[in-house]
Amino acid sequence: MNLEFENELAEIEARIAELSKLDSKEYPQLNKDLGSLRRKMKSLTKKIYDNLSPWDTVRIARHPDRPLFKDYIDGMCSEFIELHGDRRAGDDKALIGGFATIDKHRVMLIGMVKGRNVDEKVYHNFGMPNPEGYRKALRLMKLAEKYGLPIVCLVDTPAAYPGKEAEERGQAEAIARNLTEMANLEVPIVVVVTGEGGSGGALGIAVGDTILMLRYAVYSVIPPEGCAAILWRDAEMAPQAADALKITAESLLELGIIDDIIDEPPGGAHRDPETTIARTKDAIIAALQRLKRQSSNRLRDGRYNKFARMGRVKQTRS
């Protein structure tokens, strides 16, 4: 699938594919033509991706071919042992976690699963966790603390699930509990927003010592469509809302919310998942190496100060 601002790219891609099938012995000009098409492709990709609007970025963050949590598990970990259940009510399918080995680091890896085809999407509730998901995540984080393992959280969710049973079982309390308990954890927490950072549903596993974001991921207090419906009284104004809400990695870095951006390959993660996952892995390893040197007290105080600084407002005398 290609987004409409990528149409031109898709056309060139198709032509390259066509020409690649031909025999260069028969057509002496072929390699030269292919080379020039590839150069054109490269410069056009750069041109398009250098000029993305925040709304374009939202579309890329939600792209169906974008690497998902399971792709990261497969691509980053030499081992992953999934651990199920919140020991209270159930086993959430949208938010999963377990022991993982990334390079030489043993960690607790937690993330949202969206699913790729329709069946998978339904099974994983489109990556929208219920309270059981947040409670399972907290159980696993506490276990990580007990075993002295760092925690790595990959965030990709449209939202915490707004359902009747989710409310009955305390969706708000489940998220709030995580925010409170994560502030107290004595092991390093690395967070990477890989796709959609959907409000409280994302934040519920995103109180980190190091918070990273992929170049074309988004992180927002409300989906642009929802904000547009309320403040513009028209969901069609989502592009304007996306602009006003400042939800791109670049904006969040400027606002001091995230620590660094993980660059995506030209044309976005969906054009080259392998490189994206490798870069994410490298960034996680670098963060782990930095954080592992810190004492538990320093980690906790540092995390406190990090969030206390966000939106610090000074008293004004009037």
Partner: protein
């Protein structure tokens, strides 16, 4: 007069002198205004608890003359330089300041409950729907730090539609920031009592409001994560009438008690006596 006009909604009957009676927004009973005011806006007929301003809440709960406000000068920040179809956030915030006489959606300070000194954060729904944003979060964090320093209990009265969209991601982060303050109190063994009033939603219910050592609510208060309309649109079914009421939350295990406004101060005093065992 503001609340009176709002809750009445329409013109009074001609024979009743303007301003003498209040109309209960729920059962529509006419209540002698002085009676209504002295009952702190609780309807004597149906026990509806109308929303209180922060100032009214202070006079209900805190011993006369003991409240000392702090950080009153902290005002909304505009980190995104936000503007929507209707104009700038800066203007909207200035209007809210002018309308309410408050600088933010929360008033913080110290005061006594029957002689027990505590730290308070009291939200006021009139100020941009009690929304949580950078200055709101900052004041709440500073209140938590104050309680920690003074080794006192923290009491937060919530009234909020959720995070303030106009400060975007910075508002969202106030959820983690305020909870970090609560976490420190928890580690220090200091009590934190949360009182949820109508309404307590979204970014406030999903942060400090629901993680009290003791979670209390006023009768009939609406408390939830997602709004009723969003849920109905998602699940495509009609929700029961009592959905997300305090009574519903009590039944599902998320509240310690629902306390009538007339008994709230006494109730808090009793709770505080148990909670400060280690510290006094």
């Amino acid at each position: 007069m503001g609340w009176f006009n709002r809750s009445a909604g329409k013109k009074q009957q001609n024979e009743i002198p303007e301003g003498l009676f209040a109309v209960c927004p729920r059962c529509k009973a006419h209540i002698y205004k002085d009676e209504y005011e002295s009952a702190f806006k609780v309807c004597p007929k149906c026990n509806h608890h109308e929303r209180l301003t922060a100032a009214e809440r202070i006079s209900l709960i805190i011993d006369d003359g003991t409240f000392r406000e702090f950080n009153a000068g902290i005002k909304p920040n505009d980190p995104l330089e936000f503007r929507d179809a209707k104009g700038t956030y800066r203007q909207k915030a200035d209007d809210a300041i002018a309308k309410t006489g408050l600088n933010e959606a929360v008033v913080t300070g110290s005061g006594d409950i029957h002689g027990i000194r505590a730290t308070f954060a009291i939200m006021d729904f009139r100020f941009l729907g009690g929304s949580l944003a950078s200055a709101t979060g900052e004041k709440i964090l500073l209140a938590a730090e104050h309680a920690l320093r003074m080794k006192r209990a923290l009491l937060i009265f919530s009234a909020s539609g959720g995070a303030r969209m106009h400060e975007g991601i910075v508002s969202l982060m106030q959820m983690a920031k305020t909870c970090a303050g609560i976490a420190r109190l928890d580690r220090a063994g200091l009590p934190y009592i949360s009182i949820m009033t109508d309404p307590t939603y979204g970014g406030v219910s999903a942060s400090y409001a629901t993680v009290g050592d003791i979670n209390l609510a006023e009768p009939g208060a609406l408390i939830g994560f997602a709004g009723r309309r969003v849920i109905e649109q998602t699940i495509k079914e009609k929700l029961p009438d009592d959905f997300q009421t305090a009574e519903y939350l009590l039944e599902h295990g998320f509240l310690d008690a629902i306390v009538n406004r007339s008994e709230l101060k006494q109730y808090l005093h009793r709770i505080l006596q148990y909670s400060l065992g280690k510290k006094v």
